[in-house]
């Protein structure tokens, strides 16, 4: 039995160095899962060490004093790949800034679980599919910019419940149907809807909003 123990003792110091401390942080795990989906040619995510107790020292991540992730700032970072449902784990996230990248695929409906979200900037990517109805749950949302993507379908009427919404931009997509006029949608400028297949403002009581969409 000399051999295994000898070899073992030999490799042990290596083990000592590399054995990671455990991460039990669900927000860190969620972000790490996000990282695994993303291609990162500029290595902006290299500091995302999943073995750390929390992700608060990861670059492009900001935590509050309770070590909950409140900001994710990855605008203009040259990242590609897609988003996954795990982002919905970031319950305390206030700012989701992923603008001007090359992210593809659908916007996960789980983003509707980010109930603390104030700003969601997904503009300037290659997102496709529909705008999730689940966004109606984002009661604190003030800025929602989805412009310059490849989104299709109609603007969910559920979004009219977002009473705090101050800025809404879906221009330069492939959206169809009519434009809502209820709630905060009464005050958004027409530029917010430009370059889509939208049919103009919804005529209340006359045409179903997704008529012809």
């Amino acid at each position: 039995m000399a051999f295994p123990s000898a070899l073992f003792i030999f490799v042990l110091p290596l083990f000592l160095v590399f054995s990671p401390t455990l991460s039990t942080n669900s927000e860190g795990n969620a972000l790490h899962a996000l990282r695994s989906r993303l291609f990162d040619p500029k290595n902006v995510l290299q500091s995302w060490d999943p073995t750390l107790v929390n992700p608060c020292t990861w670059f492009h991540v900001t935590c509050d004093s309770n070590n909950h992730v409140v900001r994710l700032d990855l605008g203009n970072s040259n990242i590609s790949g897609s988003l996954g449902r795990e982002l919905g784990e970031l319950k305390h996230l206030q700012y989701l800034e992923l603008y001007r990248n090359n992210i593809i695929g659908k916007i996960p409906k789980e983003l509707g679980n980010l109930e603390s979200l104030i700003s969601m900037d997904l503009y300037g990517n290659k997102f496709e599919g529909k705008i999730p109805k689940s966004f109606a749950k984002l009661k604190s949302l003030r800025f929602l910019r989805l412009n310059d993507n490849k989104l299709t379908g109609s603007i969910p009427r559920e979004l009219t419940k977002l009473s705090n919404l101050k800025v809404f931009d879906v221009s330069n997509n492939d959206l169809c149907g009519t434009i809502p006029v209820d709630g905060p949608f009464g005050s958004f400028p027409m530029e917010s809807y430009a370059n889509n297949k939208l049919k103009g403002p919804e005529l209340k009581g006359l045409v179903p909003y997704d008529f012809g969409c």
């Binding site: 039995m1 000399a2 051999f3 295994p4 123990s5 000898a6 070899l7 073992f8 003792i9 030999f10 042990l12 110091p13 000592l16 160095v17 054995s19 401390t21 455990l22 500029k42 290595n43 902006v44 290299q46 500091s47 060490d49 073995t51 750390l52 608060c56 020292t57 990861w58 670059f59 492009h60 900001t62 004093s65 900001r71 700032d73 605008g75 203009n76 970072s77 700012y95 800034e97 603008y99 001007r100 700003s119 900037d121 003030r142 800025f143 910019r145 101050k166 800025v167 931009d169 221009s171 005050s187 400028p189 530029e191 917010s192």
Partner: protein, 961 residues
């Protein structure tokens, strides 16, 4: 040098028949050799001449005197003619790699036992030499002498691991009687690099050695390797072939193979990337097959499953991504199976229980799943079972171990297995190595462990144990070499260790809830880590009367509640590499004698209540790389001796009471500094221009001192802060189990950096009395993630080039006297997530942009009376047509307020106008008459006009129809 390492294997099966071969060889060729025949004078002189050119530090050859050379150490003569036929000078000192690489004393004593020097051509006088063994010595890179090719009678030549370098002479191909040729360097194959590398231009010289039975060229680099197999194929007598670590890359196609008698084939570490070739099935006598450390892929081929003599199958570290066929169980001689570090899938075949000769089963680090077949419990000879690091599920019951009487090594770590054995279970085995880390083992200590009395390694880290250490456990661990109980919830007193006869003990129990005081350090320990517990009391004294030299290298007692002072006896542990006592409640002074720790690389005393001066003697610790003394009560000046610490990369003296002038010698002496933290002291004076010479400096924190003067403009030369290259050299954390932690003030709060420290670039000068402008040159530090200059008296404008700092996440310029407008370029920093410009004299419109619009906390801008625009409530004077700027307005809520004001005005306006008209009509009779008269006229005219128009239209329509 490393042949003895091979000896370590002898006990195991793996090289059994290989050794048999040598024994047989020696029987046939040494039976005629007697050492008591008197030797031939010419050969005696040749041997003495040979000895002259050797370096023999430990006097192995002291017996080489007197007339009868046949009785000299290592010499054998032929009985029939008295000629020297054997010269065996291999180093007999046992080689132990674990000690060689980590025990300096052992390594030195090993090295002195090696022969060195030159090989004298006088050896040629020994014309009848049949056996030459110079292995395991150190000839320090001399080439293999070409003249060895003239020793025509040689049958056995072993030059392995002897420090030869350079080209292997082709002349060795002339030794046509050679049966045994070992030139290899690494008995372990590819896993150890060697200082000296042999090279051969090809292998064709070997083809002439047609009698060759055993060939080992491990580690020999072959230049023209394309046809290596064809050369080897010329050796029909070959029984053992070892070409480990030769970097052969490809297996050339052959129509048939001639070495069909081969019993042992070792091709590990050659970078082969193909399926296993079909001709393997022709080596019908093959017993040992080493293919580990390549990139073989595909299924386990039938050609391999036909080799019914196979006893050893080593496929570790390849690229197999397949499941195990049941036909594997037909190889009934299999004793050693290693499939580790592949991507094998599926479950383990139930029939494995039929492999009754199996002694070693290594399937760890694969993607095996399912439950463990209970048939494994029938493997009566099984000694090592490693299932670790696979997603195995289910329970391990006593059936799994029913007949494993011989089991010595059990590794089930990092699986999803759990135990289902009764508390009365008495296992049939006595284990030596138990690894159950990262499994669900607890909450109680597994009681079957108390039956185990031979354990030398026990790892139960992260095993969900919530229990006190049971009384019986002392008997289990008392003889232990390596105990790891880390990351559990173990409570009660920490275990106490008695002295045992071993040289390298590792005692690890960090991150538990051990309480009470430490009675002593574990004797014979190399590493002792009791950090992150609830330990109280003093640091224990060292056992003074111990005769054994102290070997402790890693001492981690950090994150406990230890009190008292640091005892002077710590200075006697001169073997220490790492001393971490941080985050305790230690008081008193730092022992002056600490300078005696001449091997120390990391000294972490952070966050205690240590006081007094920082001793000058620290300056003698030249190898020190990390010195962390922050958050204590040190006072006085920085000891000037510290400028000798040339290897220092991290100097953390923050949050003490240090005073005096900020010394400029830091910059001259400590030129390798990467992190310098002197914040929250009472340092005075200017920031010297010398700081700009610290080329590797990536974190500079001088905040909260009494520094004066300007920020040196040459700060733009701090090149480590300029580089944005992502592949920066990480810190060498010097075998510390836990990466060193340092906090950095960033994003408005204190953040604790550990593994991310190498990436951090931060400049913090806040809370001083700095004056002058923010130097434009700072905007060249494009790698900065954090820039904090708050709470000074900086004046002038924020440099327009601030937008250059593209990596900036945190910018704090608050509480200065900055004036002018906020540069528009600020809006181009996409990474910015914290901004504080409050309490300055800034004015003008707050710029907007992609990222800036997400930094919408008004407090970032408050206290600047001249600022206007979002997110402040104060609108700018030129905001009259806020939607005039459409491109940015689209991203703003700006127009929203305009519209609401417009619509808000309509209501009251209408109400005022309507009530004014109605009021007048009610109270003024003449106006009322005039108004209604006017309305009636209008109505009449309108009615008339409509009636005329409709009649006209009716006429038109009737005509058309």
């Amino acid at each position: 040098m490393r042949k003895a390492m091979g000896n370590l294997h002898v006990a195991t099966l793996l090289s059994f028949n290989f050794w048999l071969l040598i024994v047989q060889f020696q029987l046939c060729h040494t039976q005629k050799i007697y050492s008591n025949t008197s030797c031939i004078e010419r050969e005696r002189k040749a041997l003495l001449k040979f000895r002259e050119s050797l370096i023999d530090e430990s006097h192995h050859l002291s017996s080489w005197c007197g007339e009868n050379c046949c009785s000299w150490e290592g010499i054998g003569c032929s009985k029939s003619n008295g000629h020297v036929v054997k010269l065996d000078l291999h180093n007999q000192f046992p080689f132990d790699p674990s000690r060689y690489f980590y025990d300096v004393i052992y390594a030195n004593s090993y090295s002195t036992t090696c022969l060195g020097g030159e090989i004298s051509p006088s050896l040629l006088e020994l014309e009848h030499l049949q056996y030459l063994d110079l292995s395991m010595n150190n000839f320090s890179g001399i080439p293999i002498p070409t003249f060895l090719g003239s020793l025509r009678n040689l049958r056995y030549l072993d030059l392995s691991s002897a420090g030869f370098e350079g080209m292997v002479p082709d002349d060795l191909g002339n030794l046509s009687r050679l049966k045994y040729l070992h030139l290899g360097d690494t008995p372990q194959g590819w896993s150890f690099g060697s200082d000296f590398t042999l090279t051969a231009k090809d292998l064709w010289w070997i083809a002439k050695l047609s009698s060759l039975e055993s060939l080992d060229l491990s580690g020999v680099q072959i230049v023209n390797k394309g046809d290596w197999l064809h050369a080897v194929n010329m050796l029909p007598s070959l029984l053992s072939l070892t070409l480990a670590g030769c970097d052969l890359k490809t297996i050339p196609p052959v129509s048939h193979i001639n070495f069909t008698s081969l019993t042992s084939l070792d091709l590990k570490g050659n970078g082969f990337s193909s399926p296993i070739p079909l001709w393997f099935s022709n080596m019908t006598s093959l017993m040992n097959l080493h293919l580990e450390g390549n990139y073989f892929f595909g299924p386990i081929p039938d050609s391999l499953l036909q080799l019914t003599s196979l006893t050893l199958l080593h496929l570790s570290s390849n690229s197999f991504r397949t499941s195990l066929p049941d036909s594997l169980c037909n190889l009934s001689s299999l004793a050693y199976v290693d499939l580790s570090f592949n991507h094998f899938q599926g479950s383990l075949p139930v029939c494995l229980g039929k492999l009754s000769s199996l002694t070693i089963l290594h399937v760890h680090s694969n993607e095996f799943s399912g439950t463990i077949p209970t048939s494994l419990g029938q493997l009566t000879k099984l000694q090592r079972l490693r299932l670790a690091d696979n997603p195995f599920t289910g329970m391990l019951s006593d059936f799994h171990f029913a007949n494993l009487r011989e089991l010595k090594i059990l590794d089930i770590s990092s699986t999803l297995l759990s135990w289902n054995v009764s508390s009365m279970w008495i296992p049939p085995f006595q284990l030596q190595y138990i690894h159950m880390g990262s499994t669900k083992l607890g909450p109680p200590f597994p009681s079957w462990l108390q039956t185990q009395r031979e354990v030398n390694t026990l790892i139960m880290s992260n095993a969900s144990i919530s229990d006190t250490i049971p009384d019986w456990f002392e008997k289990v661990y008392s003889q232990i070499h390596y105990l790891d109980l880390s990351t559990n919830n173990i409570t009660g007193k920490p275990p106490v260790f008695k002295e045992i006869n071993t040289f390298d003990r590792l005692i690890i129990f960090y991150s538990n809830k051990f309480e009470g005081s430490l009675v002593s350090f574990p004797p014979n320990a190399v590493a002792f880590d009791a950090s992150r517990n609830l330990l109280t009391g003093n640091i224990p004294p060292l056992d003074g009367n111990s005769e054994i030299p102290l070997i402790l290298r890693y001492l981690h007692l950090n994150d406990n509640q230890l009190t008292g002072s640091i005892p002077d006896c710590i200075c006697n542990i001169q073997s220490l590499f790492t001393l971490d006592l941080s985050n305790n409640q230690l008081t008193g002074r730092v022992p002056l004698c600490l300078g005696k720790l001449q091997q120390l690389k990391t000294l972490n005393l952070r966050n205690n209540s240590l006081s007094g001066h920082i001793p000058n003697s620290l300056g003698y610790m030249e190898p020190l790389v990390y010195l962390l003394l922050s958050k204590n009560k040190f006072h006085g000046e920085l000891p000037w001796k510290m400028q000798n610490m040339k290897n220092l990369q991290v100097l953390d003296l923050g949050e003490n009471g240090l005073s005096g002038i900020l010394p400029a010698w830091i910059c001259n002496g400590l030129s390798n500094l990467r992190i310098l933290r002197l914040q929250s002291n009472n340092l005075e004076g200017n920031i010297s221009m010398q700081f700009c010479h610290l080329k590797d400096l990536q974190v500079l924190n001088l905040a909260h001192n009494k520094l004066e003067g300007k920020i040196p403009t040459c700060f733009g030369n701090l090149s480590a802060m300029v580089s944005t290259e992502s592949d920066i050299t990480p810190f060498a954390f010097y075998l510390t189990r836990h990466p060193q932690k340092l906090s950095n003030f960033m994003k408005g709060r204190e953040l604790e950096y550990s593994t991310n420290l190498p990436y951090l670039r931060s400049l913090e000068l806040s809370g001083n009395n700095l004056v002058g402008e923010v130097p434009e040159e700072l905007m060249d530090l494009v790698g900065l993630q954090s820039l904090t200059l708050s709470n000074n008296h900086l004046s002038g404008r924020i440099p327009d080039k601030i937008g250059n700092l593209k990596q900036l996440e945190s910018l704090d310029l608050s509480r200065n006297e900055l004036s002018g407008s906020i540069p528009l370029s600020l809006s181009t920093i996409d990474t910015l997530s914290y901004l504080n410009l409050s309490f300055n004299n800034l004015s003008g419109r707050i710029p907007t942009g992609n990222q800036l619009q997400t930094l919408n906390d008004p407090s970032s801008f408050e206290g600047n009376s001249g600022l206007c625009g979002k997110p402040l409530l104060k609108t700018c004077p030129d905001d009259k047509s806020p939607d005039g700027n459409k491109s940015s307005g689209r991203h703003e809520a700006g127009e929203e307020s305009y519209f609401s004001w417009f619509f808000a005005g309509i209501g009251p306006g209408f109400a005022v106008g309507f009530s004014a008209v109605c009021g007048i009509l009610t109270f003024k009779k003449s106006w009322r008459y005039a108004y209604f008269q006017f309305m009636e006229n209008v109505y009449n005219r309108l009615w008339l006009a409509i009636a005329l128009k409709t009649s006209k239209l009716q006429r038109k329509f009737s005509r058309c129809i």
